[in-house]
Symmetry: C2
């Protein structure tokens, strides 16, 4: 990092932070400063030039939070359930971070407004931190950004991270794969609701929730889940429990926290938790490599202008894109074997 | 390509094709052989070792098809509309390829069954070729695979390619971006249907369809689209028309084909078509680079086993993932400047 005169009493997160400033920011995040936390998350979301150094500096303090992923179709009462679950954990004296990811939401402004309304519902309890994410960077996936934001909250000492997503696309499956515990929320009477949630998410559910369970058809949803479980092949011997809730009335929330707790106990005893963390990191490393390689090649090695020129050539059929990509990759590669210690 | 003895009278698409075999396959695809087409598409979908050579060989014959992307929420009557539109183009003597992409569909088997039912509806007209895609490879995105399958159908001489997707995730936005013409399908009475479709898709609509337009609320949907258009900023001066259809009765289909035709005329006259193709290719090149780089690094340079080992180290906090990724990328890079002719 180049030596430069630091701006007094402030972090400029758009330029390179000095080591000492970085360390100060890390300390403030760990001390729970909401301002430092908000700045760090914004830096990570925008993947600005400081974010890599910041994530590196925070890494030693991560790995302690329990990450719970919750997914369900629009209208399944996901946010209400997440808020109630956060309240339950607060009663147990635990601090909570909520990351609400909704790539289908058309209005980022709406997401921010939603945050404020939800924050008010928690009476500005500093033990609950809520962040909504509706966008993704041009070079990085939403899953990676969510993972990085979760790392910041983890390093900030949040005991429980609740990540909620609409379970509709590949992004959401990737996001849910970051979690230690995955919860799939279904509701009765939404017709083919079991089918409208992406299959991959149904398969990785560790706990099922039937929310709005006072509605007609709750038993049918339960039977459908059981039927699906009979067909599904899990890589461990955990049988995902089905918890019935009415989130709007706070019914079944204690039971849900209990079911999560039982699964966490199972993860620890069986060793499945370590395997899950390894698998999650495998996915994250691959995603980080993908982004990092692309960034190096497109921005530094070839240049955006050259890419635009190539695109024009290909569009005019002056050049075949397959040979072009092969050549760029070959040029970039040193053909050396990896020197990274194994 | 290494010299090897060719298997008699057959292409083995799991091993490297000889030049002569590849040329034969290309000729059969161009001659419209359904068997050759099916094999080529399967090869491209699975991204097996021959697919790159095949796509390269087919590239000179691509760029002639009109690619129409159609997107709408589940229940919007998308498939029926696409089938009717295909029928309309057949009446005009044009050949059609349909690619149905539904990443939310839990059952690939269901997709294949759906293909058969839809094929029967077209009385086995060889002028309509239907392929459903519900999965994606581990290293490649669904958007890229869809683009490659579209290239095969394009090289096979299909005049019109209809690509239908459920407009819910980023994958679908990327898929729609491949198209020359983008059609967004809405239906009355689905409540917040305008909002449940991803914002990015609304913005790139070139033609709006209000399907099931005999239902109550069609005028409200139209007003909502008009209100949204007043806010949206297009990069050209095209005002997307709104076409009302009742696809199940074949009503409004001719008008839709006509609206598409007008937009195609506009693209040609204004030069916007060339810019669109360049933009599409820019996105495709970046995606191809991303996949290709990752494949080279993960499979050839580092190796899957080493990645698994690193993931284990990171999960145990023995190693920080950010420095690790930086080092792998630096190792892989030759630091040379690009030699690709600009």
């Amino acid at each position: 990092m180049p030596e430069q005169s630091p701006p007094p009493d402030t972090y400029s997160l758009n330029s390179q932070l000095q080591s000492s400033q970085l360390q100060a920011l890390v300390e403030q995040i760990r001390a729970g400063s909401p301002r430092a936390l908000a700045r760090a998350i914004t830096s990570v979301e925008n993947r600005n030039s400081d974010s890599a150094a910041l994530l590196k500096a925070l890494f030693p303090y991560t790995g302690k939070a329990l990450v719970v992923g919750l997914t369900g179709a629009p209208g399944s009462g996901k946010s209400t359930l997440v808020d109630q679950l956060a309240r339950e954990y607060r009663k147990q004296g635990k601090t909570v971070g909520i990351i609400a990811v909704d790539p289908t939401s058309p209005y980022t402004g709406g997401a921010i407004l939603g945050d404020r309304i939800r924050m008010q519902a928690h009476h500005a309890d500093p033990g609950i931190y809520i962040r909504s994410m509706a966008t993704r960077g041009s070079l990085g996936g939403l899953a990676r950004t969510t993972a990085d934001v979760a790392s910041v909250l983890d390093a900030a000492g949040r005991d429980i991270l609740l990540i909620e997503t609409v379970g509709v696309g590949q992004d959401e499956v990737d996001i849910v794969r970051l979690a230690d515990v995955t919860i799939v929320i279904l509701v009765p009477g939404m017709g083919d609701d079991v089918q409208t949630i992406k299959a991959g998410i149904m398969e990785i559910a560790d706990v099922f929730v039937i929310n709005k369970s006072d509605r007609e058809g709750a038993e049918r949803v339960e039977r459908e889940i059981r039927a699906m479980q009979a067909l599904a092949v899990r890589h461990d011997d955990w049988v995902p429990p089905i918890v019935k809730t009415i989130a709007s009335e706070g019914i079944g929330i204690g039971e849900l926290a209990e079911a999560i707790n039982r699964y966490v106990g199972y993860l620890a005893e069986s060793g499945a938790g370590d395997r899950k963390k390894e698998q999650n990191w495998r996915g994250r490393l691959v995603e980080m490599l993908r982004d990092s390689l692309l960034e190096r090649v497109v921005l530094d090695h070839v240049g955006e202008d050259a890419i635009a020129g190539y695109a024009s050539d290909v569009a005019q059929h002056k050049r075949d894109p397959y040979s072009l990509v092969e050549q760029i990759v070959a040029d970039f590669s040193s053909n050396s074997t990896s020197t990274v210690e194994k």
